[in-house]
Assembly symmetry: C2
Homo-oligomer: 346 residues x 2
């Protein structure tokens, strides 16, 4: 066992504070990583505070991890000391089920999430990226394109893949009209990626306050959803809507913005389940679907795509000691557009 | 104008009673049809009683129409006197929009439904199939395969196409596991058609009361949805679920029966909109979709498919005077599985 410095919570109501954690000694297929940066995802907060009801403590959050390889196990061939690498929301899975075999480990019935989860032994807790280092099986380590800056790349490991995967799966591309609901951590990545995929990109934001930002990020159009005329003007307009927000919306109203055979994809989970009238789907043969992060193969594809198109996140770098303040600001959506912790400050 | 005998309603609370109606003189592209049989669809009742809030009176319901051509306009080339033909839910559409051009007239923004609708002149009401005859543009007349009996074929014009279309669109076929929720007019057709498409067919019915029937109709498996174990046993089982019922169900529970990337298609509209938790869709990248009857081209394809596979509806033939009683029995789901009016009784 090796010890690592970290920041974590001891229970659902405690602030994040320094912790010392242990991780396994690197096994033959493991990669040991010195963490340089870790992004702050809203789901870190949900889990630190047990808002999904499944939290186990002590917990070190963080699943937007980037850093440098410091050692590799004897059988590791794909990575070497000094490589720039990333770790996202998954650090292992059963590897046996059809989902794993198709490279969709996020749908495995026994995924090992990066924190708030147990290893396959069902005993050893895994801990996340608010930490000086991490040890991960090479199959779950991602290669960061050399020319991308590590700090701005960290959020790609969750916000990037969570938006890339549905855009790819539902064929965003030339000639396709794509709307992005919400311009936060996920939304701003969705705009950049959809634009790079050559779709026509519309941002649907509550007000026009972020209009200039949205255009700079790559949106072709921006509409305010607090204006009822938006829903008339854009009726039957989009092939695909990516809903990045977790607040309760009138899904039926948004489904009305889809063309025939269009799909709205949910990435967030409103705690209060919205009502849905079947008519919204029957008229125009529309679909409402969901998407969950992405598999390892697709995460590497996303990183390579972002490397090719020079796409990274817009971030605000913070030292570790500012994490509790950052959590409060994330809750107020007061960040453009992702906090990233500089682990040198730990 | 020609006059026809019919049965219809004068307002939302009147019983169906004899009416005399007029229809246009056959135009060069029109086909005049002597109606032999007309099926009784639950939507006839919804509209007769203004349960969708858009009813116009007097109204002659009926959109599962079969009969024989009695005369054709000068420019009609596709039909001749004596042909066995059908008319479904649509008698015209704008013909200009992308949906019409793709043969998906049901999604046209100006469809002319067979009754409770105005012709393209926005003045002349159209009347349905509880009538001795009908006059329809040849483009909206379907050819009935010669070897299918007319009476049992009538329900294909709505119940048949409404289930065939989503089964085809979502690729029911060999190797696919398809569940049908509900074994009524739509459900019993869905079972027959899905079986003929060579899918593995499961009926999900509230109880096992209809188990023997379901097996005879072609189902491989039948499960009771009032047994919670059904939802455990069939978790992640189906590629496609066709929900034929209009009552409010816990959609989330049924979505849990889908494999990854599976789709549940809604054909009915519960008046009380169900709540839906996004998690049901996000886990397994599932979709909830809707489907509405079918276009004319696909309706002909369905009839030809049913001809090839000798598929017709299970029906109970009634004389016209029994229609009010039949409505009450439809509401109680007391019919196996579709009432068909013998128009010789009119």
């Amino acid at each position: 066992m090796s010890t690592f410095k970290a920041y974590g919570v001891l229970n659902a109501t405690s602030s994040l504070a320094p912790l010392q954690i242990t991780r396994r000694e690197p096994q033959p297929h493991d990669v040991a990583i010195k963490i340089a940066y870790c992004g702050v995802c809203h789901s870190d907060i949900h889990q630190a505070r047990n808002e999904w009801g499944n939290s186990v403590y002590p917990m070190v959050p963080g699943h937007e991890i980037v850093g440098t390889v410091t050692s590799v196990g004897a059988k590791v061939r794909r990575f070497k000391v000094g490589d720039k690498v990333g770790v996202g929301c998954l650090v292992d899975s059963c590897r046996q089920c059809p989902d794993c075999k198709e490279g969709l480990e996020q749908f495995c019935s026994r995924p090992i999430f990066t924190y708030n989860c147990l290893e396959l032994d069902n005993k050893t807790p895994v801990q996340g990226g608010y930490s000086s280092g991490i040890v991960v099986h090479e199959d779950f380590v991602l290669r960061i394109p050399d020319y991308l800056p590590l700090d701005k790349t960290a959020p790609l490991l969750c916000a990037g893949i969570t938006t890339y995967s549905p855009l790819r799966h539902w064929n965003a591309g030339p000639g396709k009209k794509v709307a992005i609901i919400g311009l936060g951590g996920l939304g701003h990545m969705a705009v950049k990626i959809a634009r790079a995929m050559k779709a026509e990109v519309t941002v649907l934001s509550r007000t026009l306050d972020k209009k200039d930002d949205a255009i700079k990020l790559g949106a072709h159009h921006v509409y305010a959803t607090n204006d009822p005329k938006t829903f008339e003007h854009l009726a039957k307009n989009f092939d695909l809507i990516i809903n990045t927000v977790s607040v309760k919306l009138d899904w039926g109203a948004y489904l009305g913005l889809l063309q025939r055979d269009g799909t709205m994809v949910l990435l967030g989970v409103p705690t209060d389940a919205p009502q849905l009238h079947a008519f919204s789907l029957i008229m125009g043969r529309r679909s409402l679907a969901g998407s969950l992060i992405g598999g390892i193969k697709e995460t590497q594809e996303m990183l390579d795509f972002c490397g090719k198109h020079n796409i990274t996140a817009d971030i605000e770098i913070i030292p570790m000691v500012k994490i509790n303040e950052a959590y409060e600001r994330v809750i107020k959506a007061d960040v453009k557009y992702r906090f990233v912790i500089d682990m040198a400050s730990l």
